[in-house]
């Protein structure tokens, strides 16, 4: 047993800390003796137990130490990799710049467009659940599908449809003159009939919303004002609450301020009032806004609502109810444009991904030997992988940050150039989801193409690479890169063709004969208030217009001034049944344009007289009419319309005295002309309208003196709007311009990225062939033949790309059909220009590497071996 005892003691000495074993033995002796157990076996068992605990302790301690050390080393490795990657990127500023720029463009453009998309389609209005709100219209399929807002009584009836609607809210607009706060201003007041804001989930920025008591007949009149009005007229101070607002010379108490940019659908309003029951009534029709029940689909609601009575008193049958999602209001006619734009920006993203992939392949291609070498020197694959991922992630991160900046700029640009109908874009903000998506796609592309191929090759070709001296190092990536470049150039061509078609279409739109001359024309909308100028007793109105016409005519620079119902492209439409004498089949009901105009209307707008004459002072009050050309021809296809007769809504028969050119009234692109019917208007019988002023000078310069001339008649007269006719035309083309600018921007970016791609792949080709080129030149090949060698390669690639791109463009451009005007989607010139531009751009991109190849000194290249 002694030997066993010695063995255990030796073991204990080893596992116990320094010189503890002695004291342990002493302890045991003392302890066991005290307990009366002195047997050697007890001693041995106890010693072994203690030894066991010590050895377990030392094992777990060294495991802990090992874990700590490894963690620290890994941490240090990552930091070294990060530092190295950053250094590497800084050493190749060209690569870094292009890669980051590419990512930034793609991420930025995509984020901006998808943010616009989501603000227009998904969240068009600043309401809670705005997608569930619908507008209720009256619709008459017999009269050209006309949709009109309902009268109050009709809208009231619609409230009884609890099976499809949660709530139906009725409101109406009134233009009022706001006075007592500096220059009088015409503002739009919306009268609400219920505490509607609760339904919309909108709370005032300060103050309170309306409560039921505000709608009682005896209630004190209260209003909410817009954030803009609060800022501009009340300096944004809280004392606005309880202040009085004078509208049409009545006082309203301000109880709250709405959040910035809040407006009711169809309203463009700045003040909201509570309509007191039985006291405040609508002058014209009302807007009915309903919220669909959660379980009801739009189609179901439409079928129920379509069967509800929609006819007004004394009205023929044929009127039906029609629902329109409020989102249609903002995106009306924009859906195609938006899907085309998002498709285009998607293509841009694709091009960018290809570019990044290409760049990454080049980078790792040229470093393949370095990677293989590191591998050979013992760097683990995990370690190499980590380095490549860190590098790609660093590029992606820089691209993401720059992309965020691009997105912000692009969003500001989109909001600034938004067409008038897309006012919702005013609220455009960056959509984080869109940013994340675009960034994720580009980053995945960078990683996928950047890391995986480099690693795969580093293993497979290690031996060859080291042996070859790096000469063939990049040959492998070349094929992939050529395919990627072909794809890229093809995509760029598609974008370019799309943009080209829009450019052609826009050019044609601008060249359209409007039927009138917008140059040198100013349009002024005065706002007559109901208190001073009641509609029911028009004497005051007539006096105002007569005097104002005379006063404006005296302004130096004014050639002539007229009053019309409206100016073309900002149409005021009329509605009625027109009958043609002797031709009952030509009877039609629906909208028509034109209206009552003073004698100078045609000359002020330089409208061409086709036949007969326009109005003179002798015509005032007589039953005569001037017609637009198309309508005159349609009504009397067999001969001159002069002297023929028609009547409107069973009024007196009107004889035609003249025919004038058709005007573009509703839109520049509209091909179908609405009936254009003008009636004479005597200067002393004008109840309302727009001043149309023809000037000899820049019309904008005359705005102050025209205002002053009107203020000489009524010093408090506010103006609805003062614009030049050219501004009106430009506004009407706003949508087309918006599409054009965006798509062109994408096309330019796409082209630039494709050029970078071609440049990259050609440089690579040239770089690989440097030795071959050197030998050829040493053997007497001319620079020209070397250049031809390179060009042959590029030409093949570009030709394939252009063929694919033209095919793609031809296939995709049909989606542009509804966006372009008078232009075929197969417009040869557009395709030709796009193809030539790409070809030229790629030739330029090839020239640089070719120059480098041909300026090579053969001796240097050959000596490099």
């Amino acid at each position: 047993m002694r030997w066993l005892e010695r063995l255990v003691l030796q073991w204990l000495t080893r596992v116990a800390p320094d010189d503890w074993s002695d004291t342990v033995v002493g302890d045991l002796r003392e302890d066991l003796a005290a307990g009366g157990q002195t047997s050697r076996v007890r001693m041995l068992v106890a010693l072994s137990g203690i030894g066991m605990r010590f050895s377990l302790e030392s094992i777990s301690a060294s495991a802990r130490a090992l874990r700590g050390a490894r963690r620290q080393r890994r941490h240090m490795d990552s930091r070294t990799d990060l530092r190295q990657a950053a250094k590497g990127l800084a050493r190749t500023p060209g690569f870094t710049f292009v890669a980051v720029l590419t990512l930034a463009l793609a991420i930025g453009a995509n984020t901006a467009i998808y943010s616009a998309l989501s603000s227009l389609i998904l969240n068009p209005l600043p309401f809670k659940d705005s997608s569930r709100f619908v507008l209720l219209w009256r619709h008459n399929p017999e009269i050209g599908g006309l949709m009109v807002t309902p009268a109050f009584e009709v809208a009231e009836r619609w409230r009884n449809a609890p099976e499809i609607f949660d709530a139906v809210e009725i409101y109406w607009n009134d233009d009022r003159i706001m006075s007592g706060l500096g220059e009088p201003e015409s503002i739009r007041l919306t009268m609400l009939t219920s505490p509607l804001l609760d339904t919309l989930g909108v709370t005032p920025a300060i103050g309170r919303g309306f409560v039921d008591e505000d709608f009682a007949p005896s209630a004190e009149p209260v209003v909410l004002i817009s954030h803009g009005l609060w800022q501009s007229r009340f300096g944004g101070e809280a004392s606005v609450l309880g202040a009085r607002l004078t509208l049409n010379e009545s006082l309203y108490t301000i109880v709250g301020v709405m959040p910035a940019r809040f407006t009711m659908p169809l309203s463009e309003d700045t003040v909201w009032g509570a309509a007191r029951r039985g006291v405040d009534k609508p002058t014209y029709s009302v807007v009915a806004l309903a919220r669909l029940k959660a379980a009801v689909s739009l189609e179901e609601a439409q079928s129920v609502f379509g069967a509800m009575p929609a006819a007004e008193e004394n009205e023929a049958e044929g009127w039906k109810g029609r629902l329109m999602p409020v989102s249609d209001l903002t995106a009306q006619g924009m859906k195609t444009a938006i899907s085309v734009l998002s498709g285009a920006v998607g293509l841009l993203l694709l091009i960018a991904c290809v570019n990044v992939a290409n760049l990454m392949l080049t980078r790792h291609g040229t470093r393949e030997r370095e990677i293989a070498l590191r591998h050979a020197l013992g760097a683990s694959r995990v370690r190499l992988m980590r380095f490549l991922v860190i590098e790609s992630a660093l590029v992606a991160m820089l691209g993401g940050v720059a992309g965020l900046a691009v997105a912000k700029g692009a969003i500001a640009a989109i909001a600034a150039m938004r067409p008038r109908r897309l006012d919702a874009l005013d609220r455009l903000t960056l959509d984080p989801q869109a940013l994340v998506f675009a960034a994720a796609v580009s980053i995945v592309a960078a990683l996928l193409f950047g890391v995986v191929p480099a690693l795969a090759r580093s293993r497979a070709r290690l031996h060859d690479l080291l042996k070859s001296g790096g000469r063939t190092a990049t040959a492998h990536g070349y094929g992939v890169r050529r395919i990627l470049t072909v794809a890229q150039v093809a995509l760029a061509l598609i974008l370019l063709v799309g943009a080209g078609l829009l450019v052609r279409s826009y050019g044609r739109l601008m060249a359209v004969d409007l039927g009138f001359e917008p140059a040198g024309v100013l349009a002024v909308w005065p706002s007559l208030n109901e208190v001073r100028y009641p509609t029911k007793e028009p004497a005051a109105r007539r006096a105002f217009f007569e005097q104002a016409l005379a006063s404006i005519a005296t302004v130096p620079g004014v050639r002539s001034v007229a009053v019309g119902l409206s100016i073309p492209l900002e149409p005021a439409i009329s509605f009625g049944t027109i009958e043609v004498e002797g031709r009952p089949e030509a009877r039609r009901a629906g909208i028509f344009v034109g209206g009552n105009v003073t004698d100078d209307y045609f000359s002020a707008l330089s409208i061409k007289v086709i036949e007969g004459r326009t109005f003179t002072a002798n015509d005032h009050g007589s039953d005569v009419v001037v017609l637009g050309r198309s309508y005159a021809r349609a009504s009397w296809p067999d001969g001159s319309p002069i002297g023929r007769k028609l009547r409107i809504d069973e009024g007196p028969w009107l004889s035609v005295i003249g025919v004038v050119d058709d005007l573009k009234y509703m839109s520049i692109a509209s091909s179908q002309a609405e009936p254009q019917i003008y009636r004479p208007l005597a200067p002393d019988h004008i109840n309302g309208g727009t001043f149309i002023i023809k000037t000899d000078v820049d019309p904008r310069a005359l705005i102050p003196s025209v205002k002053a001339a009107i203020w000489r008649v009524d010093k408090d007269m506010p103006f609805g709007e003062i614009v030049t006719a050219e501004q009106v035309v430009s506004r009407a083309a706003g949508q087309a311009r918006f599409n054009l600018l965006l798509l062109s921007a994408f096309a330019v970016c796409g082209l630039a990225l494709a050029v970078v791609g071609v440049y990259g792949v050609t440089s690579l080709y040239v770089g690989q062939r440097q030795r071959e080129v050197g030998i050829r030149m040493a053997l007497g090949a001319s620079r020209g033949s070397v250049a031809a060698l390179v060009f042959r390669q590029t030409t093949l690639m570009i030709t394939a790309a252009l063929a694919a791109g033209a095919l793609g463009a031809w296939w995709l451009s049909r989606y542009l059909e509804s966006l372009i005007f008078n232009t075929a989607t197969t417009d040869t010139l557009t395709y030709a220009i796009a193809v030539v531009s790409i070809a030229l751009a790629t030739v330029v991109a090839t020239l640089v590497p070719v120059r480098r190849a041909t300026s090579v000194d053969p001796a240097v290249v050959l000596r490099a071996d």
Partner: protein, 108 residues
């Protein structure tokens, strides 16, 4: 170790026992714990715990005089360091804070 960590229950028991004893060495520590709490710790546990505490600077040891009943072997005597007292205080305070208000729930 700048940061205060909560001591394990075993460590607290050993530290407290060392504090109570004038002559604290593994045998007396083990006996003290057994006498006061009825918990019989294995000898190995006592050694390993003391060793850990010493490595962390919470106790310090010196060799005492050899005695006949120990077969002439020296004795390793332990004392709690200032750092040890500090950690003990922090750990007990943490437990006290956590159990405050729970007297009726957990009893005592």
């Amino acid at each position: 170790m700048g940061r205060i960590s909560i001591l394990g229950e075993l460590e607290q028991m050993v530290l407290l026992a060392v504090l109570r004893l004038d002559d604290a060495y593994p045998v007396s520590v083990r006996n003290e714990i057994a006498a006061r709490t009825g918990v019989e710790l294995s000898r190995g546990t006592i050694y390993v715990t003391l060793h850990r505490l010493e490595q962390r600077g919470l106790v310090a040891s010196e060799l005492g005089d050899p005695t006949p009943e120990r077969g002439g072997k020296a004795k390793r005597c332990f004392a709690v360091t200032a750092e040890g007292r500090q950690q003990l205080r922090a750990s007990r305070a943490a437990l006290r804070k956590l159990s405050a208000g729970l007297e009726r729930t957990i009893g005592g």
